[in-house]
């Protein structure tokens, strides 16, 4: 059993949890993820390692309550325990030690991009961050991101905070600004956002990476459920990724594979809401 030692609400439907998992904490590196299962009947879901503390032996996870499992997770409190928690899985991110990086995090993607930005920052790189969400209430980790970024740009689709528009608008300005060299771009967020960024940066020939979050089962390369085409080759996100060259990823395939279980996800969520009487909330699947 893995105890939740800390819980914090970040925004309406975003929660942060610190979970006791000393073995995972000892090894965790930026870019990696864990898989957890809440209880005996639960499903295995992957979540990015947002932070880790070797001394305390804890792993921080951040999630948005979008489906049944994340809602159920969000309903747990400090002192409760998770049945299973395994990791660190996936490859650690490659970290250059100098240069200028632009980090683009959208919605659910702000949580997973934060540890990467922090790692770039600690490795001595200059990071310009752009974070965006549908509306101001959904923006998370603003202070944390600011602390590790040289500049932080904020946008909201509805204009309730920062730039009224998309992250790609701000990014475009930077791509066009020839006075500032960009060594690398990292984008994490909903698939449509990552796809837009990939298409946007390709003509500029700037190295762009994305962190993918497909459906997984085992997370160790034994099922192939997480397969994705990268440069025409089939890769398993859980062992070969989750970070890949954005210009090589087949986003179309990834998008439709992600939709494979939409009806079932909805069914599970509806049943959960009925049983816990907690209806409402955001039912969008991220």
């Amino acid at each position: 059993m893995f105890k939740i030692v800390k819980k914090r609400d970040l925004a309406d439907v975003s929660k942060l949890m610190e979970v006791e998992a000393p073995l995972v904490a000892r090894k965790a590196q930026p870019g990696q993820f864990i898989i957890l299962r809440i209880h005996e009947n639960g499903e295995r879901i992957p979540l990015t390692i947002a932070d880790s503390d070797k001394e305390k032996g804890t792993i921080t996870i951040i999630f948005q309550e979008v489906g049944k499992t994340t809602k159920e997770l969000g309903a747990l409190e400090e002192g409760d325990s998770l049945r299973d928690f395994v990791g660190p899985l996936g490859q650690a991110m490659e970290l250059p030690t100098s240069g200028r990086v632009i980090a683009v995090g959208g919605g659910v993607g702000i949580a997973p991009i934060y540890p990467k930005v922090k790692a770039f920052h600690q490795a001595g790189m200059e990071v310009i961050s752009i974070i965006g969400a549908r509306t101001a209430d959904l923006l998370i980790l603003e202070d944390e991101m600011r602390a590790v970024s040289k500049e932080l740009h904020i946008c909201t689709d509805d204009g309730t905070k920062g730039h009224h528009g998309f992250v790609s608008d701000i990014l475009q300005g930077m791509l066009d600004d020839k006075s500032q060299k960009i060594d690398e771009i990292i984008a994490v967020g909903p698939l449509p956002m990552m796809r837009v960024v990939a298409n946007q940066t390709k003509p500029y020939g700037i190295k762009t990476v994305v962190s993918l979050n497909p459906i997984m089962v085992d997370g160790t390369g034994m099922c192939g459920c997480c397969r994705v085409s990268v440069g025409g080759e089939t890769k398993f996100t859980c062992v070969d990724g989750p970070v890949f060259d954005a210009h090589q990823v087949d986003f179309e395939e990834l998008t439709r594979r992600g939709q494979m279980y939409l009806p079932e996800e909805k069914e599970a969520l509806d049943k959960y809401k009925e049983e816990c009487g907690c209806g409402g909330g955001n039912s969008e699947i991220g």
Partner: protein, 473 residues
């Protein structure tokens, strides 16, 4: 029950095995319960009396772990079940499992003398009978041996790892078993379905027994990620390590369309269904997506399990697609038989060349080509050759690829000093010793995908060699 001489004489002439009662096909495809019910004591005694008690018993040669078959059968014949199970367990630590899943027809029963003129003795069914008899009665835990003070790590809780762990604990070593998944059993848990190997009634009991011997079981530890083999020695204080991580990497066909929605590896399909209990969705949270018409590519046990699972999940039509003929099908005879009874359609000498999808990326069909058999290839089986111009499109909406598994490269990649074979297997000698002192390996990780009994046997042999190694330290 006491049989008189006449009855025994009659039984020794009886041509057929005593049938094992089982669920009717039309009933069983609607549930996940075990198909055969097993022998009762009376039938077991009768079947045991069909055995001729050969002096030079050939059946034993067919058994990969050399169970003294005539001896345990004699004890069954005499109604001495407690002694019988003891005899059986001298060599086989997982009889309730092996009695159910061993390919007896190509092992012990293939060589049985009675099989020359009639059906062989039902060795597998008798094995299962004894094991179930013991499970029903409650398995006794042997007294704890004096501790040797040596620490051993076992990696992987499949049949190889479980067996090695149990044997080493009985020898007095301190044993910790690491498993990547949240549950033990390996293929016995995630691969072989409930209707063939009940999880609570059989598998969990075997695992509980291993734990009762003092083995500490740690799930959710991926060796190579959470901890490495090097760290097990250097930081965790283990003096020897056994690697039994199996062959869990799915092979795909590498044909166009394989990433379409509705195409699964058998590993994914079976893991969702068995380990995650998707057949109980939404009571269990993991779903499984299944259409109406399923094609399973391959004809081994994995393919049969996928096909029969599809039926139970509600598929209307299930097809096996296999590129060779029925003679080459590698599955156990009983599984093929059961699949046929349940209505699985066999499309032999047929090979997929392309998977076709609709505008939303869902599978709508599979283009196949007809094959004919040529000269034997490296594996000794006839090589299938495509018949030009015989392509046709199969209407299916779900495809399960069950054409084999390779060893997972995680441990080979992260362990220093291990010699790796051509197919990613770990090289080990007959005793399970690898190229690195103190590291032993056995089961599918050494042989490539094979059988439960071979994995169990390898765990047993390695345990003995490890004991020797540890004592010499």
């Amino acid at each position: 029950m006491k049989l008189d001489k006449d009855q025994i004489r009659q039984l020794r002439r009886m041509k057929e095995k005593h049938p094992m009662p089982e669920q009717a096909p039309e009933e069983r495809i609607k549930n996940y319960n075990e198909v055969p019910f097993g022998y009762d004591a009376e039938t077991a005694i009768k079947e045991a009396n069909r055995c001729l008690q050969c002096k030079d018993a050939k059946c034993v040669e067919g058994c990969p772990v050399e169970v003294d078959i005539p001896a345990f059968i004699k004890l069954v014949a005499e109604g001495k079940f407690d002694e019988g199970i003891k005899k059986l367990k001298e060599k086989n630590s997982l009889p309730a499992v092996c009695g159910r899943v061993c390919p007896q027809e190509s092992q012990c029963e293939a060589l049985c003398l009675r099989g020359k003129k009639a059906e062989p003795v039902a060795i597998g069914r008798l094995e299962r009978f004894l094991a179930d008899y013991e499970l029903a009665k409650g398995v006794e835990t042997p007294p704890k041996p004096a501790s040797t003070g040596k620490r051993v790590a076992i990696v992987g809780a499949g049949p190889a790892g479980l067996t090695a762990a149990g044997d080493l604990a009985k020898m007095g070593h301190e044993v910790v078993l690491f498993e990547a998944f949240h549950a033990t059993g390996g293929v016995l848990r995630y691969g072989i379905p409930e209707f063939r190997l009940p999880k609570e009634k059989v598998l969990q009991r075997e695992v509980d027994y291993i734990a009762s011997l003092g083995v500490e079981i740690k799930t959710n530890v991926v060796i190579g990620k959470t901890l490495t083999v090097d760290e097990l020695f250097e930081e965790e204080g283990f003096q020897a390590v056994f690697i039994g991580t199996g062959a869990g990497l799915p092979q795909f066909l590498n044909i166009p369309g394989e990433n379409l929605n509705g195409v699964f590896s058998a590993n994914e399909f079976l893991t969702r269904a068995n380990l995650m209990k998707a057949y109980l969705f939404p009571e269990y949270d993991t779903p499984i997506k299944l259409g109406k018409k399923v094609a399973v590519v391959g004809a081994g046990n994995v393919a049969m399990d996928s096909a029969r699972t599809s039926l139970r999940l509600g598929a209307e039509e299930v097809h096996i697609v296999y590129r060779r003929s029925d003679k080459e099908m590698p599955a156990r005879a009983e599984e093929i038989e059961h699949a046929k009874e349940e209505g699985v359609v066999f499309n032999l000498l047929t090979n997929p060349v392309r998977i076709i999808g609709d505008e939303n990326g869902w599978v709508t069909g599979m283009e196949c080509i007809k094959m004919e058999l040529g000269e034997p290839d490296d594996s000794g089986r006839a090589r299938p050759i495509p018949i030009e111009g015989s392509e046709f499109v199969f209407d299916v909406d779900t495809i399960v690829i069950a054409i084999g598994q390779n060893p997972n490269p995680l441990i080979p990649q992260t362990t220093s000093g291990l010699k790796i074979g051509r197919w990613g297997t770990i090289e080990a000698d007959e005793e399970g010793a690898t190229s690195r002192p103190g590291v032993f390996a056995g089961g599918d990780i050494v042989t490539g995908a094979a059988t439960v009994i071979l994995a169990m046997g390898a765990g047993k042999v390695a345990a003995r060699a490890m004991d020797k190694y540890l004592k010499a330290l």
